[in-house]
C-alpha cells in the first residue's frame, strides 16, 4: 500500500510502477519495461552510456547536484584495480524519505540502474549501503537481488553477454555522517565513519582505494529511463541543466504531506498549495527548508522559486536532497534552529574540531536562547561561530550545520530578539529544559 495518495500534477517516471500489484517483484518489473534499458546498454559502448547520462542533465539526487555523467567519466578507463559501484542508501537527511520508497516499491529499477552504471565504467562488483534502521528494506533488496540472479541479470554472465556483475547489500548501524560519500566508504570498510580528505575523490580512490562510482539511490533509479527513453526525453522533463523529475518529500504544516514526483523546476508555492494541499488549518506560511535540514531556510516571501539546483542556489539556498519542510506562522524559529543543531551536534563524527566544537557550542547557545537566558551578544556569537565553521572541515557536515543556522539568525533575527531578557518563548507556554 502506498504511504500517501498520488497527485495528478505528478510526472511519473521513477515512480511509474509504484502502486502496481506486486510492484516489488521481478515479474511486475519485466511486464512494465523492467531491465529493457540494461539490455539496451549492453549494446552500447562505455562512452555512449556516459554521454547519454551527461546529455540527460541528470544531477546527483543526494544533495550536491553534481552532474552524474561527469562523475562517471572521472573513473579511469584503465585501472589495475577492480572498480566498484556503491549505492548510497543511507538516507538520513532530516526531511528526506524518498529512497525508502524507491527501494520498497521498485527495487528492480535500482538494480537495473546499478547494472547500467557498472557497464558504463566496467565494474564487476557493486554494493548497496543501506542504513541499519532500514532492516526491512535490506531484506527487500536481498530478495530482489536474488530474483535478478535467478534470471541471469546478475552474476558471471549477465544477460548472456559474458560480462560479470555481482551486487550485494551492506548494512550500516546508525550514523548520519555515513551518508557523506567518503565516510560511507570508511564505514563500508568496517571502520568508524570519519570522512577522508579529498582529493582523491571516490572515482579514483573509493572503496578499498579502488575507482568507485558512488551515487544516491534516486540517481541510479533515474538511469534506466534515460537509457530507455533517451537523454532528450529526460532532459526535456526538467528545466535547463536540471534534467528529469525528482521525488520531493513534502512535510510539516501542510494538508497533504507526502512524496511526490515532480519535474525539476516545479514552483515551490505551487508545490505547497496545489500538491501539498495548502497550509494546515488555513495558517499563514512562515518559512520553508527547501532541501533537507542542511539547506538555508527560506522566508515565505522567498518561496516563489522554481525548484531546481540553479534557481534555489540563486536565492542562496540549496535544492539539497528534496526534503521540503514547511513551517507555519506558529512555528518558533529559534526552536527549529535548535532542534536542527541538536541533530548536527549529535551526528558530528568529531573528526574536525571546528565541527565537533562548533556544533556543540551552537547547540548550547541555542538551547540557552530558547530557554530565555540568551543575551543580545549571543545573537552575534551564534552568527560568528557558524561563519567560522564554514569551509574548515573535511566533509560538508560542518557547513551543513552552519549554513541553516546563519540563515535562521539573519532572516528571523526579530524572533531571536523576542527571546531576550528572560522572556519565555512566545510560541510555547513552557519551554522544555534540556541540560546543555
Amino acid at each position: 500500500m502506498l504511504y500517501n495518495q498520488p497527485n495528478p500534477l505528478e510526472v511519473k517516471v521513477l515512480t511509474r510502477r509504484f502502486g502496481l500489484p506486486n510492484s516489488q517483484s521481478i515479474e511486475t518489473s519485466l511486464a512494465n519495461d523492467g531491465y529493457k534499458a540494461a539490455e539496451k546498454a549492453l549494446g552500447m559502448s562505455q562512452e555512449e552510456i556516459i554521454n547519454e547520462v551527461k546529455a540527460s542533465g541528470l544531477r546527483g539526487r543526494g544533495g550536491a547536484g553534481f552532474p552524474t555523467g561527469m562523475k562517471w567519466s572521472f573513473v579511469p578507463r584503465q585501472s589495475p584495480k577492480p572498480k566498484y559501484i556503491m549505492v548510497n542508501a543511507d538516507e538520513s537527511e532530516p526531511g528526506t524519505c524518498k529512497d525508502r520508497l524507491l527501494m520498497e516499491y521498485d527495487p528492480h529499477q535500482l538494480i537495473e540502474g546499478v547494472i547500467i552504471a557498472a557497464l558504463a565504467v566496467g565494474a564487476e562488483q557493486g554494493y548497496i549501503y543501506i542504513r541499519g534502521e532500514f532492516r526491512y528494506l535490506i531484506e527487500h533488496m536481498d530478495k530482489a537481488i536474488a530474483e535478478a540472479y535467478q534470471r541471469g541479470f546478475l552474476g558471471s554472465n549477465i544477460f548472456g553477454s559474458g560480462k560479470t556483475f555481482n551486487l550485494a547489500t551492506h548494512s550500516g548501524a546508525g550514523a548520519y555522517e555515513c551518508g557523506e560519500e567518503s565516510a560511507l566508504l570508511e564505514s563500508f570498510e568496517g571502520k568508524r565513519g570519519n570522512p577522508r580528505i579529498r582529493p582523491p575523490f571516490p572515482a579514483v580512490a573509493g572503496a578499498y582505494q579502488s575507482p568507485t562510482v558512488l551515487n544516491n539511490v534516486e540517481t541510479f533509479c533515474s538511469v534506466p529511463s534515460i537509457i530507455l527513453s533517451g537523454p532528450a526525453y529526460f532532459a526535456g522533463l526538467g528545466s535547463p541543466k536540471n534534467g528529469g523529475t525528482r521525488l520531493f518529500c513534502l512535510s510539516g504544516h501542510i494538508n497533504k504531506p507526502g512524496v511526490y514526483e515532480l519535474p525539476m523546476g516545479f514552483n515551490l508555492m505551487r508545490m505547497i498549495n496545489e500538491v501539498g494541499g495548502g497550509m494546515r488549518g488555513g495558517k499563514k506560511l512562515k518559512a520553508v527548508i527547501p532541501g533537507g535540514s542542511s539547506c538555508p531556510v527560506l522566508k515565505a516571501d522567498e518561496c516563489d522559486v522554481n525548484m531546481d539546483f540553479d534557481s534555489v542556489a540563486a536565492i542562496k539556498s540549496m535544492l539539497g536532497s528534496g526534503g521540503v519542510v514547511v513551517m507555519d506562522e506558529d512555528t518558533c524559529m529559534v526552536k527549529a534552529a535548535l532542534r536542527i543543531m541538536r541533530f548536527y551536534a549529535h551526528e558530528s563524527c568529531g573528526w574536525c574540531i571546528p565541527c565537533r566544537e562548533g556544533t556543540t557550542w551552537l547547540r548550547k547557545l541555542l538551547q540557552r536562547f530558547h530557554d530565555g537566558m540568551g543575551t543580545r551578544n549571543d545573537i552575534v556569537l551564534i552568527g560568528d561561530l557558524s561563519k567560522n565553521m564554514l569551509g574548515r572541515t573535511f566533509c560538508p557536515l560542518g557547513d551543513a550545520a552552519a549554513m541553516p543556522t546563519i540563515s535562521f539568525v539573519e532572516k528571523f533575527r526579530d524572533e531571536f530578539e523576542a527571546h531576550l531578557d528572560g522572556k519565555p518563548c512566545p510560541y510555547e507556554k513552557s519551554s522544555r529544559l534540556v541540560a546543555a
Binding site: Y3, D99, E104, Y127, E133, G172, A173, S187, C249
Partner: protein
C-alpha cells in the same frame, strides 16, 4: 562463542560478499545482526567478531562506540524509538516522546526493570512525510497519534508483542 545456525549462515554469507582480503567490511553488518541475537555487543562478542574478521578487539570497540545502533549494554526486547527531528517536531513528535517518557517511566536510552521495553529519542528515521513517526525495533509506525501511541505502549506493557497490537499495525511490508 556459539550462535544460532541461522546467524552462522548469515555470517558466512556476509563474509563471502567482500573480497577475500577485505573481511573487515563484514564487521558492522555482523555486529548489528549479532546484537539482535545476543542482546548487546558484549565483550565476548567483540572478541569473537574481531577474531572472525581478523582485526584487534580494540578496532571493534572503536567501531561500536561510533554507531548509534550498536549498544554495549542491552536495550529492551522492544526498543521504542520516537523521532523528534524537524519534520516530526512540527507535528507533535516531541509531545509523543514526552508521552512515552511519562507512560513508561523511562528516559532516553533507559530500559524497563524487566528488560522488556526501552525508549530512545531518535534522529531522523526517514519518515518525514508521514510524521510523526515511531519505530519499534525495525518496524515503522507512521502518522502516529497520541491515542495510537497509548495503545502501542499499553499493549507492550501488558506483555504483548507489537504484532499482537492489531489496532495499530506497522506500516512497512
Amino acid at each position: 562463542m556459539t550462535f544460532s545456525p541461522e546467524l552462522e549462515a548469515r555470517f558466512e554469507r556476509f563474509l563471502a560478499k567482500y573480497p577475500a582480503d577485505r573481511k573487515r567490511s563484514a564487521l558492522i553488518p555482523m555486529l548489528i545482526y549479532a546484537q539482535d541475537e545476543v542482546g548487546s555487543v558484549t565483550d565476548e562478542l567483540v572478541d569473537e567478531v574481531a577474531r572472525r574478521v581478523g582485526v584487534k578487539p580494540l578496532e571493534v570497540r572503536e567501531v561500536v562506540g561510533f554507531y548509534s545502533m550498536l549498544h554495549a549494554k542491552p536495550m529492551g526486547k522492544f526498543h521504542v524509538q520516537v523521532c523528534t527531528n524537524i519534520s516530526c517536531l512540527l507535528v507533535g513528535g516531541e509531545q509523543l516522546y514526552e508521552q512515552a517518557c511519562h507512560k513508561l517511566g523511562l528516559g532516553h536510552k533507559q530500559v524497563s526493570a524487566d528488560g522488556r521495553i526501552s525508549l530512545e529519542e531518535v534522529e531522523c528515521i526517514a519518515a518525514c512525510s508521514w510524521a510523526p513517526a515511531v519505530q519499534i525495533n525495525y518496524d515503522y509506525y507512521h502518522d502516529v497519534t497520541p491515542a495510537q501511541l497509548d495503545k502501542l505502549l499499553d499493549g507492550l506493557m501488558a506483555g504483548k508483542a507489537p504484532e499482537q497490537i492489531t489496532e495499530v499495525p506497522k506500516v512497512n511490508s
